[in-house]
């Protein structure tokens, strides 16, 4: 069976990290785009369909938490996995409260990461399905009112 690739956006201020990480994910068969700041991340999301954003927490300018907040405000359905070099759970925890799917410590275990990516993609698909159903229901109700 052919696996459907996941659309991933990698956001980290470390250019080398973004490059290597993206290459590796692409080699795994995913579709990957990489950017180096929160603002760029939001710009890309305006025009591109992304399943999962992998988001570094500590970045200059707009940090990961701020970016996450903005992502969830604009496109709540986009899933976010946080990356932290800090190892402390406190910011990660804040991120989870804001709706992040999960978090990983840097350097991350790749197998762990792939599992989380799959989980995030699944959750997004379910959400989309639910929205579709809800829409079609309300559509039916509306059309029912009409006639």
């Amino acid at each position: 069976m052919v696996r459907v690739p996941i659309n991933i956006l990698v956001v980290d201020d470390e250019e080398d990290f973004v490059e290597m990480f993206s290459l590796r994910l692409e080699e795994m068969g995913e579709i990957v785009k990489g950017v180096n700041s929160g603002q760029e991340c939001l710009d890309v999301l305006e025009s591109t369909d992304v399943d999962v954003v992998i988001l570094d927490i500590k970045m200059p300018g707009m940090d990961g938490i701020e970016t996450l907040r903005e992502i969830k405000r604009r496109r709540p359905i986009t899933e976010v996995i946080l990356l932290t070099g800090h190892g402390t759970t406190d910011t990660a925890v804040e991120g989870m409260k804001l709706g992040a799917f999960d978090y990983l410590n840097k350097p991350a275990d790749f197998k762990d990461l792939m599992e989380k990516l799959e989980g995030a993609r699944k959750r997004k698909a379910e959400q989309e399905e639910r929205i579709r159903k809800a829409e079609s229901r309300s559509l039916m109700r509306r059309s029912g009112n009409l006639f």
Binding site: E14, D16, F17, M20, F21, L23, R24, E27, M28, K58, L83, G85, H86, G87, T88, T89, D90, A92, V93, M96, K97, Y103, N105, K106, P107, A108, D109, F110
Partner: protein
């Protein structure tokens, strides 16, 4: 004022009649007098009845006054000595002052004069005593502050360093992982030195994991502002620890088990951190045991405290190491095998939880670490009401633990 309390004086002279007469005169002036007939018994007397002032004849058979004074200055530095010299022996007196006497008086002694000197010497002795105490206290305080400061700056430094290292580590790790994927491609199968490349990459990955362990331990020490407190059953925690240590234990051929089974002990604490402590202790215990060794966990509670013991049948800790095992980076393990941060971090955590840790060890027999923590550590902020969130936190903890604690 020095006169409020009876001033105690040791009077040392080999001439009985002279000594007793002088003692009487002093006692009449409300001085409490102890007597000794020679240097040796003077030292004995001081041991039993320490005094602030000794009045002592210089010319004595056996140990003379100067010799005796040297011993007094050495063993009882707070005691001031007034020497009594023969009437034409000014040199004796001067030599005495050089050697540390408070003053000297020529015989025959004028009572009023001696009394004055005694009170002066007494005041000096008291003052010096206070000064010494003060200096001692100041030194202890300074030492404490230096330690606290060092730990605080070490903590900030550790967090910074760990973060700065984790980022390049992540790049190394992804690059190595990418290369590994490339090597697996069909086009690369026939590449020269294929296996050697693979082997080298494996080494890189292994080393990344090792460095990661160090930074994670460091971070465990450094930044943990938002601990998650909740109620736990110690029995559950111990079971979890045993489960998490199972891999290391079976690889080493060591049994890890719960010892007694006390009735339930509940704690309000930070389970993630406390678990990290226990895992560190159990992991040390396993490492100290040979095949067939045993690490046992037991716990108990009394009133507001819970104690957890981790006992092993390992090689023990030699005396000279016992003081050092809590120092950061102190390890007796070969390079790459231990960070030397386990106990340092553990003690730090336990202290933060308001508790303490003790160790007892016998070389060749084994070691016992005992952790005591208050059953009610600092209460947590409102976040715990949010059920959804609590589940997530638990999940985070479980995972963290796999990532950082168990090794």
């Amino acid at each position: 004022m020095s006169t409020e309390k009876a001033v105690k004086v040791l009077l040392v002279d080999d001439e009985d009649a002279f000594r007793q007469a002088l003692a009487k005169r002093l006692e009449r002036r409300r001085i409490e007098v102890f007597q000794a007939a020679d240097g040796k018994s003077a030292l004995e007397a001081l041991k039993a009845f320490p005094v602030n002032v000794a009045v002592m004849d210089v010319k004595m058979p056996g140990m003379d006054g100067l010799e005796t004074m040297a011993c007094i200055k050495r063993d009882f530095p707070d005691t001031e000595v007034i020497l009594l010299t023969g009437h034409a022996a000014v040199e004796d007196g001067i030599a005495g002052i050089r050697a540390g006497a408070f003053d000297y008086l020529q015989k025959p002694v004028e009572t009023e004069n001696l009394l004055n000197k005694i009170h002066q010497a007494y005041d000096k002795s008291r003052h010096q005593h206070d000064l010494a105490k003060e200096a001692e206290l100041r030194e202890a305080l300074e030492k404490q502050m230096a330690t606290a400061e060092r730990l605080a700056s070490l903590g900030t430094l550790a967090a910074g360093v760990a973060h700065e290292i984790n980022n390049p580590l992540a790049i190394i790790s992804e690059a190595a992982g990418y290369l590994q994927l490339l090597l697996k491609k069909d086009e690369c199968r026939e590449m020269p030195f294929h296996d050697r490349f693979e082997k080298a990459i494996e080494k890189i990955e292994k080393s990344v994991k090792r460095a990661r362990r160090t930074t994670m331990q460091l971070l465990g020490f450094a930044g943990q502002p938002d601990a998650v407190y909740r109620e736990i059953e110690l029995d559950d925690l111990v079971e979890e620890v045993i489960l998490l240590a199972a891999g290391q234990a079976s690889a080493a051929g060591v049994t890890v088990a719960k010892e007694k089974n006390p009735s339930s002990v509940t704690l309000w604490t930070d389970p993630h951190r406390l678990r990290q402590v226990l895992i560190n202790l159990v992991s040390n215990g396993i490492a100290a045991c040979g095949r067939g060794g045993r690490v046992s966990l037991s716990f108990d509670s009394s009133n507001d405290w819970a104690t957890i013991q981790v006992k092993d049948t390992g090689h023990g800790i030699p005396k000279e190491n016992l003081e050092r095992i809590f120092e950061p980076f102190f390890t007796t393990k070969p390079p790459g095998k231990g960070t030397g941060l386990g106990l340092f971090v553990s003690l730090d955590i336990v202290k933060r939880l308001g508790g303490d840790m003790q160790v007892k060890s016998k070389v060749g027999k084994g070691t016992i670490f005992q952790v005591s923590v208050p059953r009610l550590s600092k209460t947590c902020p409102g976040v715990c009401n949010d059920i959804d969130w609590r589940d997530k936190a638990r999940e985070l903890e479980r995972r963290d633990n796999h990532g950082t604690g168990a090794h």
